[in-house]
């Protein structure tokens, strides 16, 4: 077979180090929050002959949940900040549609990846537009989970000012009982999101062969030369801000 089939690949630095650190820290604390959250919601039966004073199982689980919560929240704030100062693939415009081109790309990703129509493969180097738009809702879920979580936490924290910023939350939900339900239900968004996310990363790696999975490790993606050239002509990427 002739070599002409083999395209030349260009290496693109897509995910900067702060984005990668954010990503894996976020993944870790979310897993911890889900595990501890499930435990808080329905603690396991512990058979123990020790005195209550000698154990602190639920206490530790809750402590871990709250420590992870702080990390989760400030990591999230950092990511928002990075959406303004990071490279174009990290920019907030990747998540919030600001042009008609954005919607056109969402439609084309939808056709190709979900309806599985044959067509020109989409060309995004960073997030594709549909993924970016879904991440926007993911960030909203982060916000909901932080607000409901810190709202619950406000009345049980030692009283330093930060959690107290959220002390208005329970009243908005008509009390802690419903607030907890919302917090619990939102957790399922995280679980489902994680499944979709991991699946789609494998999917893209598989059908595109551009190093999707490893990109969150080293930051590199590999795109074909002709795609690279097309991109230089396209107005689709937001300018570096």
């Amino acid at each position: 077979m002739a070599n002409v089939n083999s395209p030349k690949l260009r290496r693109v630095y897509v995910w900067e180090q702060p984005v990668r650190i954010y990503h894996w820290l976020n993944a870790l604390v979310i897993l911890v929050l889900i595990a501890t959250g499930f435990f808080i919601a329905d603690p396991l039966t512990i058979q123990s002959s020790r005195e209550a004073a000698d154990q602190f199982t639920m206490g530790w689980i809750r402590t871990i949940h709250f420590v992870a919560s702080y990390i989760f929240f400030f990591n999230f704030l950092f990511r928002i900040y990075w959406g303004f100062v990071g490279n174009k693939y990290a920019n907030w415009k990747q998540f919030i549609p600001t042009s008609r081109h954005f919607f056109r790309e969402i439609w084309s990703v939808f056709k190709i990846d979900i309806l599985m129509l044959r067509g020109k493969e989409h060309l995004s180097v960073g997030h594709n537009a549909l993924a970016g738009f879904i991440y926007f809702f993911m960030f909203l879920a982060f916000l909901v989970q932080s607000i409901t979580g810190f709202g619950l936490y406000a009345s049980m924290s030692s009283g330093w000012w930060f959690p107290q910023l959220f002390s208005w939350v329970p009243a908005m939900f008509g009390g802690d009982i419903f607030l907890r339900q919302v917090h619990h239900l939102t957790m399922w968004f995280f679980i489902l999101f994680t499944l979709f996310h991991v699946y789609l990363v494998f999917y893209h790696d598989y059908v595109e062969g551009r190093g999707e999975i490893s990109s969150m490790g080293g930051g590199w993606k590999f795109i074909e030369d002709d795609v690279f050239e097309k991109h230089m002509e396209l107005p689709n990427e937001p300018p570096k801000s």
């Binding site: 083999s6 123990s48 009390g175 009982i177 239900l185 399922w188 699946y199």
Partner: protein
Amino acid sequence: MDNPTAQKSPTYLEEFKRKGYSRKDFLKFCTLMAAYLGLENSSVGQVVQALTNKPRLPVIWLHFQECTCCSESFIRSSHPIVADVLLDQISLDYSETLMAASGHQAEEAMKNTMTKYKGEYILCVEGSVPTAADGVYCMIGGKTSLQILEEAAEGAKAIIAWGSCASNGCVQAAKPNPTSATPIHKLLKGKPVIKVPGCPPIGEVMAGVIVHVVTFGRLPELDGLGRPKAFYSKRVHDTCYRRPYYDAGLYVESFDDENARKGYCLYKVGCKGPSTYNACGVTKWNNGVSFPIQSGHGCFGCSEENYWDNGRIYERASAFPGFGIEATADKVGKVALAATGVALAAHAVMTNVRKKKLIKNLEKEGKQSEQELKK
């Protein structure tokens, strides 16, 4: 508070004495109230002064859709003065349950208080107001509850919603709420209402709220839901004596099991203490004898909004309204999880079918490079 028309009314202290209580009893009572209100020691004097000098506060106490458990709780509060004196002393000018007068006389008394003490009296409301069918579900003396409430609220100095009925509708407002039972703060727009929820509220808490209004002449500090912070800023869970078992992870698994006999935490059998703001763990009930958790039954959140619709009493995971008939958040989640699994598996299969050529090409390309490397 210093209202010339009320000048002739006796002060609290005078009434206490008339009832046969000694000054010592009086001081004890003041100290107790100050403690319930969470005041500093130095403020006890303020309470004493207020009750010594201030004339009795006229009170109109209305009953709508309710079971009178709030009145019951009030007259049974632990300190004899609360029951015996304070209730009399707040000069209940109108209360369907407790006044001696009836019929036109009673209506007359209420009208008198409303005109004579305009802007001075405290309006206490027990019960919710049904607004369906033009209010026919609860009418007194030919008037609907709403009419009576609005008239009485007009000249009130302070409005207190006793109990969960007046504060959040309680059981009669539970779905489907056939009479459109409505808590009073929703009907008295723009008027501050002190909510004292609970089913019933604790008698000492009720007395404390009144003493606060008498002493300071203004509403107590309220939380986001309009409840006095002095009594509703802590969760039952925060003052529960079983809390060490909660933290240790030792729970009653079912009523009457070994753990229940050991007095473990009731979290897993549905205790809503972690989400309920009330003073039960501290003040307790019936002269401080006990409170539900001490008697082996979880808190069911009676002082929280919509507690009847907020899920099952004996289960930790609350039912989530709106999904199917009643599903817990986890049931909803598990269904979504299964659906996701199926969808993703289908997608994976379809990918290999529909994008066969694409994948083949990638593979070919990769293998070719591999071959070339071998050379």
